[in-house]
Subunit: 334 residues, 2 copies
DNA sequence: ACTAACATCGAAAACGATTTCGAAATCGTT
DNA sequence: AACGATTTCGAAATCGTTTTCGATGTTAGT
C-alpha cells in the first residue's frame, strides 16, 4: 500500500543513491547500471513510493493528461468512443479526463483559462460545434486540439462520412418499389451540440434522390426534434401525406425507434408496410431488427488520439483530416 | 487572452510589489491595502496572468478538484446528478473531473495509486458497489470519499429509499382490482455496478404484497436483464402465466418501456389491460404517459457534495448517512 | 603505461507558487 | 514626544521532481 509523504529523497536514502539516480531509474534513463537499478526499484517497492504528480508536472510543465469534451448524451457512441480514446492514450502513458458539457453554467466555467480541463497537455472535442465553441463561446483553447465527429479547417479532425452514409442508406431504400421519405433531425445551430452531422445526412439523402432521377420534394421530408416524441410526430406527418407501403430513412436510430414503436401501435409491419433504415447502430438496433448505418467508432477514437499524440510531439505538424466510412447493416426492417 | 509563461514574478515586477504581495491579493489575504490590491489586480489583467495550477497544487498539496467515479450508462439520472455535484462544487471553488468505469481495462488502470483520479482532494462514487470496489478490486482509495446511490457503513453516503419507493409503487398498483406482477432487474453481484438498488426495490415490492395480505408467489415475479430485450422477455413470461387485465411494477423505466412497446405490438391498452408503474422517471416517461417513481437527484448531488466538502475540511467528522425519498408520479399507465 | 573513450553516478539548479516572520511605516494614546 | 499597537509589505524558505553537467572510475587501444 502506498503511504503518503514518501518522497524520492526517502527512496534515495533507503537505496543509498542520489535522488537523481532514483529519478533516472523511474524515467528509464539509460545511464544506470542494472544492479543499482534493481536496488532502487526494490526500495521503491518496499517504501510504497509513488511519484508526486503535482511536483512532476510542476517541474516538467506536462501533465500526461488529455481532456475530452463531449455532450452528455449517454449513447453507446460516446461509450465506445471514450473507451477507444482512453485505451489508446493509456498505451502511450497518458490519462484521459472527461468533461461533459452539461449545461450553460458548466460551459461558462470553462471560459476561464485556468479551468481544470486546460490543466492538460491536449484536448479532444467530440461531436461539438467548433464555430460555436471557438468563435461564439470563445473558449480559451491554446492547447493542442483535435476534433472528432466535427470538422474545422484549423484543427486535426476525424469525421464520419455522414453524407455518404445517408446516401448509401437512401440508395438501399430506393431499390424498393415504394415512395421514399426521410425523418431528419432539425439541428439548431446556436448550440454547442450542433456539429453539422445531421445537415450532412440530409444532403446525402437529397443527393441520392437526385441521382435516382427524383426531385427533392418538400413533403417527402419531415424534420423532428432529437427526441422520441419528435420522431413520432414526424412519422405521423408522413402518414398523413402518404399511405403504406413506404420507405423511411431516419437520420438517427433514436428517431427510427419512434417509428418502430408507433408502427407497432398502428399495426404496420416493418419490412413490408414500412421499410426503415436508421443511422448509428445503437446496441438495441440488432435486437429490434433495425437496418441502420454502423460507424467505426473505435477507429475514430484511435485515429483522433494518434493525431493528438502526434501534435503533442510536434506542434508544427501539418494539419490532418481523416474521414471514416459508415457501413450499411441490413436487418429485417428494410 | 492569457499568455503562457507569465508568472507571478512578472506581475510583481509590473506592479512594483513583491511576489508575496501578489500571491496574497490573489488569495484574499486581509493584510493588503486597498490601493495596492487594485494595482496588482490591474497588472494581472494587463499581463493576462493566470495561476499555474501545477505549481500551486505542488506547493499547497491540494488540487481543488474532486473525482467522480460512475458507470458509463448515459441515463438522465447521471446527467442530473453530475450537474448537481458540479454546481455545488463550483460554488466552493472546486472542480469536478469525471471517470466513468467503462470497462475492465480502465478499472485495472485505476488500481495504480498514482492514477489520475487520485490526483484530487476527494472522491465521489456514484451507483457503484462499494464491496466490489474496495474489497474485491482493492482500489487504493486513501482520499476523503462519499458514496451516492450506494451504501457502506464506513463512508458518508447518500442513498435513495429504493425499498420504500418500490413499496409505494406496488401499493398504488394493489389498489387496482387485478393481479399484480413485478419485472425485476436481476443484479449480478460480481460486478462493480451492482449497487444493490434493485435488490432493495425487490424487497419493497415483496413487503407491499405481504402487508396487503398476499403471499409472495414466485410466478408473480419475472427477472430480467438490464436491457430492452430483457424487459420484453420478462413481459412475455408474465403473459404466459396470466391474462390481462393485470398490474405490473417494473423496477426501472428501461424495463417499463419494453412493456409499453410490446403491449402496443400486442394491442394491449395501457391503463386498462395493463397497469404499469416504472422507476426512475426518465425524460421520455412523461411523453409516453408512464407512471413511475421520481428521484430527487439534484438534492442527492448537493448532499453528497456537502458531505465531501465537510470531510475535506474536517477528516475526523462523524460519518453521515442520508436517505432521500422517491416520489410516485401517476400518469396514464396506471 | 598512457590516453581516449565510455559508463555510471550525484550535486545542484530550476520550476512557480504559498506562507512565515520580521521590518518598516503609520496610527493612537498618553 | 514617546511608546505600543496596528497595518502593510517583502525577503526568503519551502514543496518534490527533473535535468544538466562535471566528477570519477573503468575499459580499450596503442
Amino acid at each position: 500500500m502506498s503511504k503518503a509523504g514518501i518522497t524520492i529523497q526517502d527512496v534515495a536514502k533507503h537505496a543509498s543513491v542520489g535522488v537523481s539516480t532514483v529519478s533516472k531509474v523511474l524515467n528509464d534513463y539509460r545511464d544506470i547500471a542494472p544492479d543499482t537499478r534493481e536496488r532502487v526499484l526494490k526500495s521503491v517497492e518496499e517504501l510504497g513510493y509513488t511519484v508526486n504528480r503535482a511536483a512532476r508536472s510542476f517541474r516538467t510543465g506536462k501533465t500526461q493528461t488529455a481532456s475530452i469534451f463531449m455532450p452528455m448524451v449517454g449513447t453507446e457512441f460516446y461509450d465506445r468512443l471514450v473507451t477507444a480514446i482512453d485505451n489508446e492514450l493509456a498505451a502511450h502513458d497518458y490519462d484521459a479526463a472527461l468533461f461533459p458539457l452539461l449545461n450553460s453554467q458548466r460551459l461558462a466555467r470553462y471560459k476561464a483559462p485556468d479551468a481544470l480541463p486546460y490543466h492538460a497537455d491536449g484536448l479532444i472535442f467530440a461531436s461539438l460545434n467548433p464555430d460555436w465553441l471557438f468563435t461564439d463561446a470563445r473558449l480559451p483553447v491554446s492547447l493542442p486540439t483535435v476534433l472528432v465527429d466535427a470538422y474545422h479547417a484549423n484543427y486535426d479532425t476525424v469525421t464520419v462520412d455522414n453524407s455518404g452514409g445517408a446516401y448509401a442508406a437512401t440508395m438501399h431504400l430506393l431499390e424498393r418499389p415504394a415512395d421514399t421519405f426521410a425523418i431528419l433531425v432539425q439541428e439548431r445551430y446556436d448550440t454547442p451540440f450542433a456539429s453539422g452531422v445531421f445537415l450532412e445526412r440530409r444532403k446525402g439523402f437529397e443527393r441520392a434522390l437526385r441521382e435516382h432521377g427524383l426531385s427533392v420534394q418538400k413533403d417527402h421530408i419531415a424534420t423532428a426534434e432529437f427526441s422520441s416524441d419528435g420522431g413520432r410526430i414526424a412519422f405521423r406527418q408522413i402518414l398523413d401525406r402518404a399511405k403504406p407501403p413506404l420507405n423511411i430513412f431516419a437520420s438517427c436510430d433514436l428517431l427510427a425507434r419512434s417509428v418502430l414503436d408507433e408502427a407497432a401501435r398502428l399495426d404496420l409491419k416493418l419490412g413490408r408496410d414500412i421499410r426503415l433504415v436508421g443511422f448509428d447502430d445503437q446496441p438495441w438496433a440488432a435486437g429490434l431488427g433495425l437496418s441502420t448505418m454502423h460507424q467505426p467508432v473505435e477507429q475514430m477514437g484511435k485515429l483522433a488520439t494518434d493525431f493528438l499524440l502526434k501534435r503533442l510531439a510536434d506542434a508544427e505538424h501539418e494539419i490532418r483530416h481523416h474521414e471514416v466510412k459508415p457501413e450499411l447493416i441490413v436487418r429485417e426492417t428494410s
